[in-house]
Symmetry: D2
Subunit: 344 residues, 4 copies
């Protein structure tokens, strides 16, 4: 498919609206063709800001729409089952924000329906699998260098949660990420769960069991513990440590992946070259330049970054540097005054 | 401009080809419409892989082409002057890889020509200004919290350089980034340069003055020193420390921006929320899903990430978790065997 | 007491011999007056190297000895009860390596005997309470800045253990330190313990349950978990994190105490002055100089550190520096050749 | 010499008084026998607090005193020459705070006088050579693992200086430490010095050239730069980075020695065992216990640390732990109430 993927985003609350912005401004090869929301005005307001985007009032109609190639599901969990089955029915690939559905039986029904179809159409929004640090940790485990993973320690901390957040949501909405991280990193299923509710944070809302400690046992008997604490007042902290047969590795310490290995060293990896170190910078440079060029017709300024004067100044300094390289002595930089060139 | 920006990439060596891939796969709102290279076959090979991309044999023709909206210049430095002037003549925005031109006089001529035009069309590829860490450092300086910057220490280390790299290239190709970083961070011009060549690295090629120490003085008398060392054998390391009136801050220590402030603390900032922490993960998640969906017609697999089974497994674990939340005791996870569902 | 404390060290295996060396070479105000060991030759060999030290063959005689002011107990645990009671009987202060005694009933008997005496004579060798990092962590908790501690995570890792180490010793000899750390940091008793034995490290000796996860509940319902893993193959790692109402703090990350606080910062503390930064250096400097002076009569060299030449060289460089301070230009250092002064 | 070294401390200002306290409370095998100061009352006050310590009014008499074995010189620099020569004359080992003398000619005279004597009696107080981190850095260089050191970067920052501190004192009193560090780490002399005075810190006292940048060249042509900045307002920061042929290493980042090596790793070393990790804790434990025992006669409390109750509590928790090790289930800890034992 060389043309742009036409996506319907169903549900444009915080998460859905964020996906709409992402697809429009960041993702290449796709565009938001349809939006839909339970609150119709919200959908209309958003559609008006996206070229070529229209509102379809019924989510099932949006899924069935022949001008829609794929679906992003950011609707409330209870509607997921019906909408996912509709996607399967119409053969539409769907990226479904967690949860898949709100209970085990309907989740299984969706798995079975997709399996019966013989095509994998459903992706679930466990985005940590796409995080650079989790990727590095998974790659390190898979490399075998650490040997068999034995224990995993997780911490998941939010500064605050909305007023309606209750103890069970800590399990279903927060801990669920640690569930997927465990399954992703260890490549096996969880067989037993224990939730410990210690004496609660006095700063948490009355009745909220926070923090909670979850203990998972996996098929092969590995131990995972996860602290979930959603009223820390500090910031958003996510940390995972894998303790393995020949060493351990931790992410989420604000310092990248830190590894401990025999014979007694700790540390990380330095980027091997400028492509790895500045890849993000190059992407941002070009994206912002493209955006500036598109906006430039109105302002006469087609640049969003260093301009010709900056190139000239660099040349003048390097010229002085090249002279000093010969003599070793300080060399004055010769430059015209910027103000001497009107418009520079 | 709501349609895609049509870009001509001139020069498709390592840097140019990298920009072609970037614009094609990562950048939204633009596409590579034209490629050109001194080695015509290289341009043709590359164009064949990009939908809607053609080769224009003469770079000046490519610049003049009415179906080209903007230009990326990745040609050898000596050709820049003529090509930049052509871009100005045709009113085409141009993103020019460093150097602007290869000497001071021609750089000034380009600045003057653009100034005379009254439109800013030229951007220079000093990509560090778009790096997250440099951005944070600049923002911290501009916030005024550190007071007046007094001294800047830079280190720029490469594991190795190609055989043709000579002592002057260390100044013109490597140190030039520290020149721009200095001007970017301090917002003033460099007035004097000294290059010190200490006893050379015995592991460096015979005759290469490596490492070199550059000392810059700025208009207001600030001191900048920069170690440039291109045969370290280690990795790619770029470090900048700003020492200011009320504290200091360093980037490039593999741990993000680290700041020292009164009354005697060191440290960094934690991401305030999941949007900041996992923004990259969300972008990657959706981009890879879009790519997978586009490729899916052939394979029957439209997902590149966690699927319906992963959603089901998470539901089953959370269900057990919700039960354990009540009892505090371990609860077995109830799941069907994956192998019992053909195709799951 | 202005004279030196005369200490009897009972048991001179690894730990006891280490204490003998410590008291002799490092501790001021005390000396080892008596040593004793089940293996008499070992005691005699050691005593011969310590000026004024003699062997007493029976540990109870050593305790009763009128020329002994205090006792260090490094004998096997099963002998502790009788020896501690003897210390109490003779009013001798005793520093007892862990365990106090080998079971709960005898430990209680010792507590009761000391209480009946009305004098606190017994100290137990939980040395972590004297570690700089644990001290900093305790001080931070006690300052109240973090609010109420809610959860504590501990990790205790050894690269390897001797062949006789069994699963219960992981509890009694390793975990016991986390028991004391918990009581020290939280200032309350532990009311419940759970030991989880996950799938064992394949590299551990057959039958050893390693790693183990301990879960403590305290009087006020706080949760503590501790991973004890004694066959990591890596190094000696001890880590403790306290998660509290208004922030968290961790020690044992090879980077000192790292603290997370609102509104989203992480970091540590810089030494406020040279006394704190170089206090250890000053102590070592003077101790090694004292030792060198004492040994100097034989060698004619009474220094163990920088000598007069180093002072001269520093003067010469600073002289050149003071001249350069005026001119800003490089100034050659003028020094005589060291070889021109015989004996310098 | 098995008896205590009798030391005369000349000059009991801040540094001298600190050494008196150190020798009295921390150093084993030595005591302060004599103190002397230009301000006689200060000496008398201090002597009154030290058992067996007396005042000698003339520093030369103190040096000559037959009951003095060695001298610590903490007098003003201008008196050093005469006092050092007196130490040499009487064959007294002397630990001389920097500077050796206040100018190059007299420093040389002292070197020559000691050389003529044929005995090394003079040590200079460059205490950084005894700092653990500098020791580790020196050991790493000497191991040859990093190859030839090529460049050294130093930073030396004070939060503030006394009002009389002038620009030359930054060279003679602060930079002098970097002079010695350079000579210590590189094992060669400095041949040239340049002091650069950039635009001064607006927060520094009027007229103080602060910060200053020093550049040293060594005999073999190596480059050292040192930022000295004494009015940072932050804290006491000392940092040294050695950039060598096969890697680099830095100390002073608040995280111990951090090393960068091929093929692209950064990190440090974990303590190999509990002796290294907790050596300081053991020393402190025993020293504080010795001090507490000596003070105990008056209070009836001979412990300064965990007591018998702590040993009992640990036994009770470990007993529960050993039971849980068998069952895997939580086990309640059985303990008597502490309040049930009067005096416990």
């Amino acid at each position: 498919m060389t043309t742009e993927l036409r996506i319907a985003v169903l549900g444009v609350g915080m998460m859905g609206a964020d996906h709409v912005a992402r697809i429009t401004s960041t993702i290449t090869g796709a565009r938001v063709a349809v939006v839909n929301d339970y609150v119709s005005e919200k959908a209309h307001e958003l559609a008006a800001t996206i070229p070529g985007c229209r509102v379809v009032e019924d989510p099932l109609d949006a899924i069935a729409d022949p001008e829609v190639d794929a679906v992003v599901l950011a609707t409330p969990g209870p509607t997921h089952e019906k909408q996912l089955l509709a996607c399967l029915e119409h053969g539409k690939p769907v990226m479904c924000e967690k949860p898949l559905t709100t209970d085990v039986a309907t989740s299984l029904a969706v798995v079975e329906a997709e399996a019966a179809l013989g095509k994998k159409l459903i992706q679930v929004g466990f985005m940590r699998r796409f995080d650079t640090e989790y990727d590095q940790l998974k790659a390190l485990i898979d490399s075998g260098e650490l040997g068999r993973p034995l224990v995993v320690h997780c911490a998941h901390r939010n500064p605050a949660v909305p007023p309606h957040f209750d103890s069970a949501m800590i399990v279903r909405d927060s801990l669920v990420h640690e569930v997927d991280v465990t399954r992703f990193l260890l490549d096996e299923e969880i067989t037993s769960v224990q939730i410990i509710s210690p004496s609660a944070n006095p700063s948490a809302p009355q009745g909220l069991r926070d923090p909670q400690i979850a203990i998972f046992t996996t098929e092969s008997g590995r131990h995972v513990d996860a602290e979930v604490f959603v009223t820390t007042g500090v910031a958003y902290e996510v940390r995972t440590e894998v303790v393995a047969e020949h060493g351990s590795a931790m992410i989420g310490l604000d310092v990248g992946l830190v590894r401990k290995s025999a014979p007694g060293t700790w540390g990380g990896t330095i980027t091997p070259g400028f492509v790895q170190r500045f890849g993000q910078a190059y992407d941002t440079e070009i994206q912002r330049w493209v955006d500036a060029v598109k906006a430039g017709a109105e302002t006469g300024n087609y640049v969003d970054g260093p301009g010709a004067w900056d190139g000239y100044a660099a040349a003048a300094v390097c010229e002085a540097g090249a002279k000093s390289l010969e003599s070793g002595a300080p060399v004055a930089v010769e430059m015209v005054q910027r103000s001497s060139i009107a418009g520079a």
